[in-house]
Symmetry: none
Subunit: 211 residues, 4 copies
Amino acid sequence: MLSGYGRYFEKGFVRHKETHEHLAVYGQKPEVMVISCCDSRVTPEGIFHAGPGELFVLRNVANLVPPYEETEGQHGTSAALEYAVTALKVQHVVVMGHAKCGGVQAFRENANAPALKGDFIGRWIKLLEPAAIAMACMPVDRIDDPQLAMEYAGVRQSLKNLHTFSFVEDAVTKGELSLHGAWFDIGSGELRVMDPHTEKFETAVSGTPTE
Amino acid sequence: MLSGYGRYFEKGFVRHKETHEHLAVYGQKPEVMVISCCDSRVTPEGIFHAGPGELFVLRNVANLVPPYEETEGQHGTSAALEYAVTALKVQHVVVMGHAKCGGVQAFRENANAPALKGDFIGRWIKLLEPAAIAMACMPVDRIDDPQLAMEYAGVRQSLKNLHTFSFVEDAVTKGELSLHGAWFDIGSGELRVMDPHTEKFETAVSGTPTE
Amino acid sequence: MLSGYGRYFEKGFVRHKETHEHLAVYGQKPEVMVISCCDSRVTPEGIFHAGPGELFVLRNVANLVPPYEETEGQHGTSAALEYAVTALKVQHVVVMGHAKCGGVQAFRENANAPALKGDFIGRWIKLLEPAAIAMACMPVDRIDDPQLAMEYAGVRQSLKNLHTFSFVEDAVTKGELSLHGAWFDIGSGELRVMDPHTEKFETAVSGTPTE
Amino acid sequence: MLSGYGRYFEKGFVRHKETHEHLAVYGQKPEVMVISCCDSRVTPEGIFHAGPGELFVLRNVANLVPPYEETEGQHGTSAALEYAVTALKVQHVVVMGHAKCGGVQAFRENANAPALKGDFIGRWIKLLEPAAIAMACMPVDRIDDPQLAMEYAGVRQSLKNLHTFSFVEDAVTKGELSLHGAWFDIGSGELRVMDPHTEKFETAVSGTPTE
């Protein structure tokens, strides 16, 4: 890893040297928050070709936003969201799902199991339950691949949950904040964006990569 | 953002096309989990020059690991940690702090305030309280810059908290997992690594960037 | 002990006999409340050369004032404070820390321990946590001796907590009550007084004892 | 007060200079804990003619020991008791009441009032309720002065409460700790000691002061 850092320091950092110095002095002012998965195959900055200071990135398992909760305890995702919207005043929040999501897969495999394995991961992906229920009750589109359908449903549910935070809802109502759904295919590199009206996911860039 | 994606798809993705296809079929098998901040100026994949499939990345405000807790509720960070260590069996967990951390700054500014603003961010950064107490009680090194001292203390505390998870402790004891502390200077691009024995942070690569 | 009492009765009491008789009839009217440690090496009446009726003395472990709390339960320190300020109308409250404080030491040693020993002492000295946090976040002065730094921080925090009681705050605002911080060196007999503006502790009487 | 300290430093401290230096280096090792009132007319070190390092002194309103309680919150008196018995291993605990006790008086005056004044003092002296009940039900001795009777009853109740702490009970059973009741007359300087069997208070030193 340190040799990787060496390469970065000699090449990558130099490219953004002045930006880094400026950001260190004046602080970050990103316009976009991306909520993405921890998955090692999904790097928001890479996918959006973003330089330092451009994306405020929250990454958790299965890119989930819990609903607003008044319970005690440390709500890491809600804290990051609150900071991004109220302190940094980002203009966009993008929830980005992805193919082959291990969190979604674990949820699907354990849906009928008596108890979910592990203390935390089982409880965390229970956040997908309303997504599964919504999908079962009001299928937006019939997709043959149940894993993909659930990945989409997870993004839709997280977008729905975003609206349960009053500071998000206020900013959206005032036109200061937009919410977006997206999905990344780790195998083909394809990015799909959710249409806010139909809630369907459409390919963002149709061309094939030039090799 | 979509034009950025276009550039990525035409250049970045092509470079890793086979890797992506392989990863999509065989799944991710990252050896390293990085716990980093949401800050737009800190991109683990960039700093470590890591390609797809290499880093399992959790990002939350102020790169915090809470201690093991048996309380109800969705513990997003603990869930990601559990997934990385027990399911993906990563060999390294790196907690990476950084300069000018807004979460640490908010904690410091609010330490004496009657009440912390916001529902979530205030509670979340309270995870830094044991870090502050540990620093006050057993100062590892006297640093004139209190913001930097607190950033270091936060990384040390998160490493300490990692040990409260039995699955982490077990893997460390068996020699299957190593824990690391690091700190990134967003202004100069310098990476500092924590010595596990002295708990001091030392510059990892001393050379200046070749311009 | 009874022989000690005999000596007191024959010498000490006689000296203050009339004062005692007067105080028994007309009641106490002390102008000063001292909040000091139970430590056997710190006697407020001795240090301030005070006779009967002069000092209203609260002594608890580590001379701590908890913040105002609405919870149930018997708050002994708050009760004594309330009695002194609202019933006796003292004009000064002095929080006096001291060197080698066992309560502070226990706090420092246990800051990183998994669990504090004992049912009560561990919980009581947790009142020092905000002191440690304040010190970590906004160090007033850098002191090489962490025990001393924490002793000072404890006094500062107790003074801060005094302001959380409305009856204290009211009396201070009306100019009827002053709050003071002090620290006693049990080894050298030196008394240090906190400057209310800089919050630094300065030697009160600089001369050496005449032997 | 500072001039009083000056006098102390030049005279009082010098007398105990070597003791102070020794205590600073080797720590305190008092054999006796005194639980006394905050009252400005009652100074345990004075009454027992005790020098530095001899008495571990807790002072609260009305010299009360609450019963063992498992509730949350900071129990200052219990904490000091625990520290004295388990850490310092004192051999004696003396609960010393006194004449004209304002806490006892407030309790008596408010016993029939609908609500006790103040947030804290009222709740604190409610600890005397079992003392009053015990006195009403099982009067040890009939005393014409109800204030004095209640002051005695308070000491008896505190001694009873001491036994509810398992660490006290254990030490007493092993013969390592003795509990004592005492009462000081602020007007005459008389000290009365409670007979452990009859629970009556008897004058400790009968002679009149030599003037």
